[in-house]
């Protein structure tokens, strides 16, 4: 996993609420057996028209907008647990997703793939949409160390929450597997205790 500390970038607005993971990556693209290539099909049915040409009305196709930050409406990533959604966003080139609310599994999947979900207030999000639409050149600064997001050139900054453990993982670019494997003897002890306690457990009232 790539390390993440600070990112300065312009942003792409996607002002739609309840974007589910079926829209981020439709089911028909889930037949791959590796993690590559999902970026090409990110938001496939919104990005392309039925004849296969680009849909100019979709904000990701708007040449005014660019950058590695996606700013999305409330309740982003609801629905399916498919991690392919995170792979698609990372593959497309996003490093941060900003929204006023994230679905739990999506948040976890994003964090496990070096994609930072930044949850901001409704007010800050509305302000972001307005600012970016007015001036698509607007840059945002996302500082994971300080847990802040700022609109550069304004005095608008907001702090965001992130699980301390996950923050450390993101900053150092490591994942949970190494940690869990290092705890194997503890896990085995737990298993042994559980097996020998089964009878006692059943007598607890």
């Amino acid at each position: 996993m790539e390390k993440f500390t600070t990112l300065i970038s312009t942003a792409v607005p996607l002002e739609i609420e309840n974007i589910d993971t079926d829209q981020i990556i439709p089911a028909r693209f889930l037949k791959a057996t590796d993690k590559q290539g999902f970026g090409d099909n990110a938001f496939r049915d919104w990005r392309f028209k039925k004849d296969g040409s680009l849909n100019p009305e979709f904000s990701l196709n708007n040449p005014k907008y660019d950058g590695s930050i996606l700013v999305a409406g409330n309740n982003f990533g609801c629905g399916s647990s498919r991690e392919h959604a995170a792979w698609a966003l990372v593959g497309y080139g996003f490093k941060v997703v900003l929204s006023s609310f994230f679905a739990d599994i999506f948040r976890g999947n994003a964090l496990n793939n070096g994609l930072l979900p930044v949850q901001v207030s409704e007010g800050f999000l509305d302000n972001l949409f307005e600012t970016i639409k007015k001036n698509p050149e607007t840059e945002l600064k996302v500082n994971l160390e300080d847990q802040t997001v700022s609109i550069i050139g304004t005095n608008k900054t907001e702090s965001f929450d992130i699980d301390a453990y996950k923050k450390t993982c993101m900053i150092n670019g490591y994942d949970d597997i190494d940690y869990l494997i290092s705890q194997k003897s503890l896990i085995q002890r737990f298993e042994n205790k559980k097996a020998s306690n089964r009878h006692i457990e059943t007598e607890v009232e």
Partner: protein, 460 residues
């Protein structure tokens, strides 16, 4: 300290807690399927890590499987490759696999409970958001991403922060024609698709106490649609009776001991939840959805609300519905009874009971897709297949089918489908398909009349 059902099961599975960080949660059963596991197997192989507890993993083929001619090679090359890869990965790693054609094959959330793999007090995960289904047994069951599938492969554990708790209580008596599916669609329409985020939900009250296991699974299945990590219902006599005698359920003295433990699991009187919501059963009617998320539901005899929000308008535009209109009498050409929400034997009994002696409307293509080989066998054994065929329906073979359209069962663009599945997202049942979620009874009635009708009006 008074504990909730969730607390009791969670606490019994904590291996260790990281200071200011997550818990290491032990996972009893890990269910896998072809779509979300290949990258996890690759990850372990690349890193040279063996599967830690292969005997606690159970695999099935469901998302990609065709629902006709299952004895023939799968036509779609990518699907065939993904299914083959799962078979090979299981073989190589000594994992039990119920592939296509196996008598235990079926949708992961249908076959595991019916085999007795799912038992009260367990922790169960699967790379599929509808893992919440298993919570019907008083287990902590939730969907995970593929990175987490790899973590469980490597350690039989997950690093997780304990979610908050909520309880939804529904008391009273349900009206005739109101099914468990209507109960959960009603709850989600009332509280919204993000109301449960960050929470594990316990369903309580006499509506759930009086519900069959099949009905409880339908309710817990859709917990994820209100944003909850999972749903749970306290195990009781109904649960114990359901589990008893099933293939992998404990037997004899072991069963008795297990039941004694399971009886300790229900939430203590006076335990505190972070969030409590109450509903009255008398307020619930048969439900249909009109929009593109499961929270956009109305009582079947109600009308689509009027809202001035862009996302709402986009949704109605996709569905080609108008604010303020009623869905009753809308012509419908597709009906799907299936999916991990409603493909259990009870669902087909309900449908057959309504369909018996009637004829399917000519305009309707109706797919009846059982959730497992065992359900399929039961349908035949109980004579339901004859009822369906006499009415002009065709029973297909088990799988996820038109719930997410990864196989050939796709609803054509622009067509409406009354579906017993769990999601009405844009393109969920095929590009441009329009899904209306409903109960198996409403779906059966739609197939007969060729349009949406209020079944409860017929019953009363």
């Amino acid at each position: 300290m008074k504990k909730t059902l969730f607390d009791k099961v969670w606490d019994a599975h904590v291996v260790d807690s990281i200071e200011n960080g997550p818990d290491i949660l032990y996972i009893d059963k890990h269910l896998i399927h072809e779509v979300t596991s290949p990258q996890a197997f690759n990850e372990l192989e690349t890193r040279g890590i063996p599967i830690f507890r292969p005997q606690q993993v159970v695999a099935t083929a469901d998302h990609n499987t065709p629902t006709v001619d299952q004895h023939l090679p799968v036509k779609d090359l990518l699907s065939r490759k993904q299914l083959k890869q799962l078979a090979e990965n299981c073989e190589k790693n000594d994992i039990t696999f119920y592939g296509l054609g196996h008598p235990y094959n079926g949708i992961v959330h249908v076959m595991a409970p019916e085999l007795g793999i799912t038992q009260p007090g367990m922790t169960i995960v699967c790379g599929d958001s509808h893992t919440s289904t298993h919570g019907a047994f008083g287990t902590i069951a939730f969907g995970i991403g593929t990175s987490q599938v790899a973590q469980v492969f490597a350690s039989q554990c997950l690093l997780l922060s304990k979610p908050k708790s909520m309880r939804i209580t529904v008391n009273g008596k349900l009206k005739p024609g109101v099914l468990p599916k209507d109960v959960i669609l009603y709850i989600i329409s009332e509280i919204g698709t993000d109301a449960g985020t960050g929470h594990f939900c316990e369903y309580a009250g006499d509506v759930f106490e009086n519900m069959s296991m099949e009905g409880r699974m339908t309710v817990c299945n859709m917990s994820i649609e209100m944003g909850a990590r999972g749903g749970m219902i306290a195990p009781d006599e109904t649960t114990f009776e359901y589990v008893k005698g099933r293939e992998f359920a404990p037997k004899g003295l072991e069963y008795e001991q297990a039941v004694a433990y399971w009886k300790t699991l229900p939430t203590d009187n006076g335990a505190i939840f972070d969030k409590e919501i109450h509903f009255d059963a008398a307020d619930i009617e048969p439900m249909v959805t009109y929009g593109t998320n499961p929270g956009m539901g109305i009582k079947i005899n109600g009308s689509i609300p009027v809202e001035n929000d862009e996302s709402f308008k986009k949704s109605l535009q996709y569905m080609n519905f108008k604010a303020g209109e009623s869905l009753v009498n809308k012509p419908i050409n597709y009906v799907f009874i299936g999916s991990c929400t409603n493909s259990r034997i009870e669902d087909f009994r309900i449908a057959a009971d309504y369909i018996k002696g009637k004829q399917k409307a000519e305009n309707v293509t109706a797919w009846l897709v059982p959730g497992s080989k065992q359900v399929e066998a039961q349908i035949i054994e109980e004579g339901l297949k004859d009822i369906f065929e006499e009415a002009g329906f065709k029973l297909r073979q088990p799988g996820c089918s038109a719930c997410l359209a990864m196989n050939d069962d796709k609803i054509p663009e622009g067509e409406y489908c009354v579906s017993t599945s769990n999601r009405n997202f844009e393109g969920r049942q095929g590009q441009g398909a329009r899904t209306i979620l409903a109960s198996p009874l409403t779906a059966a009635a739609t197939a007969i009349s060729g349009k949406i009708i209020d079944v409860s009006a017929q019953l009363n």
